[in-house]
């Protein structure tokens, strides 16, 4: 039997060995055989003696390896303070976790109120689109639920342009003549898309 490598683990003072015998030198995993054998020291010596000189040298090398492996390592002393000034606790560590969604809605309400105050006197749609309105549109989908909820509460039909811009939905026509119909269409869209 040709053999290129032998590995093993000693369990009890040389009386029991689990041996891995790698038959071919290419170390193809499919060629690993797992052999469990229990031998006395005399049997081990007998087996060793029967090996050709080249394999005896390998066994000797492996024994050297085993001796190194079982030698206890001296624990290295870990220097203290390596992370000094790299880890710190912010002053507001104990503060309540911010209500991100609540803050977002508060920002929206402030902008929406400002927009309403600035444009609600107008009767024609183009005048509803001012700088504040564009800021609301710029916040994109994060404001979508709040706009739709505002419409649900009776808010302005002129959210229509913002909703179109944010959602890309052009299926709802720019027909402001019956505002209730237009609002209902957006509320239905919001529900169908699980936004409200």
């Amino acid at each position: 039997m040709e053999s290129g490598f032998v590995a093993g683990r000693q369990h009890t003072s040389g009386t029991q060995l689990n041996l891995f015998a790698l038959i071919k030198p290419n170390r193809n995993r499919s060629n690993i055989f797992f052999v469990t054998c229990v031998m006395t020291d005399a049997q081990l010596y007998q087996e060793l003696s029967a090996l050709p000189d080249s394999l005896k040298q390998e066994v000797a090398d492996f024994i050297t390896f085993l001796k190194q492996k079982v030698q206890p390592k001296e624990p290295k002393e870990r220097p203290l303070g390596l992370a000094k000034d790299k880890i710190f606790i912010k002053d507001n560590f104990d503060d309540p976790i911010p209500n991100v969604a609540g803050d977002l809605e508060k920002q929206f309400n402030e902008l929406a109120t400002k927009w309403k105050d600035e444009t609600r006197l107008y009767s024609l749609p183009p005048k509803k689109i001012n700088e504040t309105y564009l800021k609301i549109i710029a916040r994109g989908e994060s404001y979508l639920p709040f706009i739709l909820k505002d419409i649900q509460r009776g808010g302005s039909v002129y959210w229509h342009f913002a909703l179109k811009a944010i959602t890309g939905n052009n299926e709802i026509q720019d027909d402001f003549s019956r505002s209730r119909i237009l609002k209902d269409a957006w509320i239905k869209w919001g529900k169908d898309n699980f936004i409200i």
Partner: protein, 146 residues
Amino acid sequence: MLPDSYIPALTPQLIRAYLPLLQKDVNFIFKSVQGDDYNCVSWAIHNDEENIILKLPDGETDQRLKSYVDYYKNIGFEETGNIDVEQGVTKIALYAFADEFQHVARQLADGRWASKLGEWEDIEHSTLNDLAGNFYGEPVIFFINN
């Protein structure tokens, strides 16, 4: 009919900021809740069921004064220079900045005026000048409908 407890959405602060002359009219009153079911164009002809918004051929909103003049002419109004109260007729006044339509008010039987203020409430005010200024411009054309 507004309930006595109604608190106008158009606050005194907003009136002071946008319609300062209205603030001086001690007789102006709110006549409806706020809303966007109808606008000043429709309210001028007693229509409180729809927004009347004129459109250009390309679908954009038509804001030209001329277009609103034509609209009211087409439904039976005639231009007039007399805004004195006359029984049995409807008179309206169109506000504009240059050639851009802004607002329209309707005269009441007692000589006061009715206006739907955008999406805010509709109101009754004493004079056309109450709404004049930087927001609605000036009343520039008057119509009568016999």
